[in-house]
Symmetry: C2
Subunit: 331 residues, 2 copies
């Protein structure tokens, strides 16, 4: 049984006011067309980016196959110093001729790839110290700042981070959610994005913030039978499109062409709701983490009981949560 | 859509050894026929019980209609002193001519019923002080003790209580569970018992230990749509039959004829698992109550979040409970 397929609505020429008053409160994904993003959409060619250059230590995901798998870990992280030029060349999937190697020097002396000849690359820019600093392309890539305008569809003080995303054609990022609201700005190139509602979490076989169902187009329904119940929202992003991904919405992204994307994350909730150590925008809200810890204590208590009783009272706990904490306002 | 209907197995001449080694570990209801219950099954006629007499203050449920409703509370509790004779007469639904009134004296001076002419009665015997003492018919009705043998299918030290149950014909007790294992001994008369597995708790619309679905034969599926998923086990109990109701199994009992039943509860788990203040055998196990209290703290923490987030994290908590505490061994 195939799940329900739903298009993500596309709206052209949406004003800040209209977005904030009418679209944002709906907490549903929407593609905004024709937003003024500055000159980046025409300017950020490979050639231009090569010229503005800059040298940067970056961390990339290197995957042997296009579909990255966080369970079997079919990718590795590699740090190296690259000229910005090179970042583009990597993701263009050209030989790594110009590689400035640091950590991986001994690996790279004799070959021009990390793990296999047809490996794929995925760059997600980070803050200066990724454990402390959030990514902000205006800081890490100041030469590019003046070319891009972020949609000012939130208050300046809500801004959290802006992130470069560059990946090899075909590379697929697993289905996951973030806790921050998010504009995915497709500057150049093309992506396909599939989204699932937070309400469908129970059909996605989660492991942390990620879905274990990697192949969303041909899922193993014997292993993941409930996945067929998940309502699948889908859109294509072309250069200049901006996708609003509300916090908690699951998203799976395939780069159909080489291209440059920029993510802007911002805070929908008061700052104190978010984990202060979160530099990625994907750590669970502090209240949720505390609740999860408390729940673990409850489960430890239940574990004192024999299986038959533990199972029964676990079911009763579930009924209690559904009664007390599930929203009655959602479909 | 009607739920699955399943018969409760009936077995004749089961030995103590066979029960304890083969049936008991299955934790499923079974009707035992031909168990030696002593002389009670032939002796306990209304006439005999009237003769052995005794005076007793008892508490009875008085209901205006046969189907007792714990939500609308269509019954009242009434305490009065009755000769044992009278208890039978009440449940035979004869006029209350011989009533010795204490608490309700002013109500009963001028009429021979409590709430309506066609009211129904249900007597469940209690301990001397029901808040402290458990019911044991051997203590509260010593004159009857020698007539009845309880099936010795558990260890003497596991014994918890024995309870008289006498009710008007047609009276229906709502679906509920107890936390103790239980033999329902049909001494005289006839009952129909419908049971549901603890695993089907989520289809029963629970309020505490009780199901809100009162009319199990013609349920309001618009109000209780999931009820149709509950697998319904059913049996008829005739004089001399003994029904094993495992702890946590839901049961709904209709007295099809006037008759006398005796329940024997015993402890399946070590004594310390049970609530020490429980005189009825239906208070949740202490570990379960503690877990429920801890869960409430977790829900209070979640409640700090806006609805959308609370709903999402509540769903994640449910997934976590299902993953960690649900048994994988049940069908």
């Amino acid at each position: 049984m195939a799940g329900q397929h739903l298009p993500v609505p596309r709206l052209e020429g949406v004003s800040q006011e209209h977005f904030m008053q009418h679209l944002y409160p709906q907490r549903k994904p929407v593609v905004l067309e024709g937003i003024d993003l500055g000159t980046c959409t025409s300017k950020w060619t490979v050639e231009y980016l090569s010229q503005v250059g800059g040298r940067k230590e970056v961390k990339i995901h290197v995957a042997a196959v296009p579909q990255m798998d966080f369970i079997s870990k079919n990718f590795v992280y590699r740090y190296f110093l690259l000229r910005f030029t090179l970042g583009i060349q990597i993701t263009c999937f050209k030989p790594l001729r110009y590689l400035y190697k640091i950590h991986m020097a001994h690996h790279l002396l004799h070959k021009e790839f990390f793990i296999s000849e047809d490996e794929k690359y995925y760059l997600r820019s980070l803050g200066e110290d990724p454990r402390k600093d959030v990514a902000d392309i205006r800081k890490q890539f100041p030469l590019l700042e003046e070319d891009i305008k972020f949609p000012k569809f939130f208050k300046e003080e809500q801004f959290f981070s802006s992130v470069f995303r560059i990946s090899s054609p075909g590379l697929q990022l697993w289905t996951h959610y973030d806790v921050m609201d998010n504009f995915l700005i497709q500057v150049t190139g093309k992506k396909r994005v599939v989204l699932f509602s937070p309400r469908d979490a129970q059909y996605l076989y989660l492991s942390g913030t990620k879905s274990e169902v990697l192949n969303i187009d041909d899922p193993d329904l014997a292993k993941y039978p409930l996945f067929s119940k998940a309502r699948r929202y889908e859109c294509s992003l072309n250069a200049g499109d901006v996708l609003f991904i509300p916090a908690l919405w699951f998203h799976n992204v395939i780069s159909e062409e080489f291209g440059v994307g920029v993510n802007v994350f911002w805070k929908h909730l008061p700052s104190e709701c978010y984990d202060k150590t979160d530099t990625y925008g994907n750590k669970d809200l502090t209240a949720a983490s505390r609740a999860a810890q408390i729940l673990d204590r409850a489960l430890k208590t239940l574990a004192e009981l024999p299986e038959e009783y533990r199972d029964f009272y676990a079911r009763r706990m579930v009924l209690h949560i559904q009664d007390k904490a599930y929203s009655k306002n959602f479909e």
